[in-house]
Symmetry: C2
Subunit: 377 residues, 2 copies
DNA sequence: CCTTTCGATGGAAACGTTTCCATCTTGCCG
DNA sequence: CGGCAAGATGGAAACGTTTCCATCGAAAGG
């Protein structure tokens, strides 16, 4: 059992100076079999859990393996079983709190199902998205979860190559056959509009993300559609799009708030837009919510730290990731035309939206001396 | 239904009929070779870029490959070359802004070097850390970047098994042989203490992360050490540790601020602690910075959104990730005792720290009516 | 006591690559 | 005009696993 490793120690010659410990070469199943005095098939059976192995034999194998520091190679196994146990996750940006939360959900689910996750960020670039996808396919991941950046044609081709594909957060209208896990953004926006309307606001501005191409803006449509039922009339001039970047968002918010001083409430369709709104309001010396109310979609951590804390629509990012992963890995069998999974959102009311005094139905006070309007919480 | 997805129809690989159309089964190098009328070695040479191939042959191979939708399998290649091209990243929490930023850096670097990244979160649990590590080794990643959670003994064993290991953000004192990329936290904390002392603060509290076991607290030591040079005397009662979790941080901050109303400044050793300090201050109706100044380590996004914006020490998280990855993948050759890479931090002064009126050198005003102290920016 | 059956085990063939080595063309130089 | 070098190419052996299949032994049933 002592028998040192035979031949071939440093295939590539790298790493010339000895490494920290020993580990001449990683032990293989063959080494373990030899050390335990059994066949490799038996070792495989012990580790893969398949088939029957006598208790005594199993112990011997385990002991030998532990002794040699043996770890089965996922490469060998993957090659044989045509299954890597990995799943790919493509998000726009790992730094984005929403994406990060979604990622956490995916990780949690993958963990329970015994898989690993290969993450990459496409930064909204379709070319980069395609490239990442390519790499993932090459890695033979078992499935891919993507928050697609709107380039429909790219994904159409992808859907054919992909082992399994699930969209999260956004779906592509042209690809209804790809399962998707979405938040009920429309419901969230509607709730927000209703809430603001209920506070007396009549001129609500919408700061929205200008989708690069495809997405027709579920949120924007919801914003529009919510007007009539709430007794509001839509002012097209108050629907302002912005590229999903900090500078663009800031510019859009600044433009809006400077151009229209009759706006009493801003609905930001994302945390980046919300951030911009808060910053611009501060820059313009507008008090929140006295001078202008602000609310946004995405209840990120800083919403609570703001002063005043920001009213927001919470979307279950983590759950979405979890569900997407589950959809990918678990339900291999049933495939209904079930349509996308829609997860509920929740309106979290904080202090950033004030009631409008009915005495002055339209318009925001011009001076700074106006007393605080009633705030919730 | 048409059975939309190509979900592996022939588990045993029989592939009965001729597969002319699209990918019944993923095309292999053999298929391409046959289609192009060449040997598999030639196909391999075309795709791996090694060896010489006649221009005409190359074209034929490429055409055949494109036709068949061939993607070389990373599993086969990895098995043969004993190199997966993947790197593992273990962070405490992907949701944490710092970790997310670090991850982004790793992704960026891996991308340029043509590798993929397997991410997982250990949530400060050594057992989980070990488990993740195990999986990564099993995946045969080429290297691992970890933000270790302090369990030294666990990592000691790991360092032996690991292909290559680099620590980021934290190093383990017992494992000096593991390369590390760190931020100059000590310098940051020192700068913060000096800054606060310069504003006239004499009783500065330290809200620090209580490392579960090992880490002796570089930041805490720096905090202590900075006192004398700044002409301050350390009050042990003002050094309060907290587990790195929201509730614990909040409890610690609340305890501190309620117990000691003579504290005029709080130095939070992390953004979670900073968050807690801000929240508690608000809860206790303490005005920032009039009643208490707050500053923290880690310049996360919300620091600027706070009211007032928070003074913070910025640490180059993204760079750290990038450098760590570089260290892992690039410099296979030179291994000096170079010691950890130390990246500089930067003090970002915002409005959360006020100058203390010399008229009332010690102690924070008890009432709320005190006028604002001078604020910077 | 013989036969049947079943559990435990080992051998060997795949899985899809890369790469060594041998073979076959050429083109070139002497 | 012959031999040789060099370029192009194909065959085949590994890489580390799983799994089919065959073998062997023993227990159980007759």
């Amino acid at each position: 059992m002592m028998e040192t490793f035979p031949g071939k120690r440093r295939p590539t010659g790298l790493d010339a100076g000895g490494r920290i410990g020993m580990a001449e070469r990683a032990a293989t199943i063959k080494d373990v079999a030899a050390a335990a005095g059994v066949g490799i098939a038996t070792v495989s059976r012990v580790f893969s859990g398949t088939g029957a192995v006598a208790a005594g034999t199993r112990e011997r194998v385990l002991a030998a393996a532990a002794d040699l520091g043996y770890r089965p190679s996922a490469l060998g196994r993957g090659l044989r079983t045509a299954r890597s146990g990995g799943i790919g996750l493509i998000v726009p940006d790992v730094t984005d709190p929403f994406c990060a939360e979604l990622t956490a959900g995916v990780l949690a689910c993958a963990r329970t199902l015994g898989g690993h996750v290969v993450v990459d960020a496409a930064h909204g670039d379709p070319a980069r998205e395609a490239e990442i996808l390519d790499r993932l396919v090459e890695q033979r991941v078992d499935g891919i979860i993507a928050v697609p950046a709107g380039d429909e044609s790219g994904w159409r081709g992808a859907a054919r190559v992909c082992p399994r594909l699930v969209f999260a957060d956004r779906a592509l209208p042209g690809l209804p056959e790809v399962p998707a896990v979405l938040a009920d953004d429309a419901g969230g926006v509607r709730a927000l509009v209703e809430y603001l309307a209920g506070l007396g606001h009549r001129r609500i501005a919408y700061l929205g993300a200008a989708a690069p191409g495809a997405t027709p803006g579920v949120r924007e449509r919801a914003f529009r559609d919510a007007h009539a039922p709430a007794g509001l009339v839509l002012d097209e001039d108050l629907v302002v799009p912005a590229r999903p970047a900090r500078d663009a968002a800031y510019a859009a918010a600044a433009g809006l708030l400077q151009r229209r001083d009759d706006v009493t409430a801003v609905l930001a369709a994302g945390h980046l837009l919300g951030e911009a709104a808060v910053l611009v309001a501060r820059e313009l010396d507008l008090r929140v919510p006295a001078d202008v109310s602000i609310a946004m979609v995405d209840d990120v951590a800083w919403a609570e730290l703001c002063d005043p804390p920001l009213t927001a629509v919470a979307r279950p990012a983590r759950d979405m990731g979890y569900r997407a992963c589950e959809l990918l890995l678990r339900d291999r069998a049933r495939r209904g035309p079930a349509g996308p999974v829609l997860l509920p959102t929740e309106l979290v009311v904080r202090g950033s939206c004030g009631a409008l005094r009915s005495a002055r139905p339209g318009g925001r006070p011009s001076g700074r001396s106006r007393p605080h309007a009633e705030t919730i919480r």
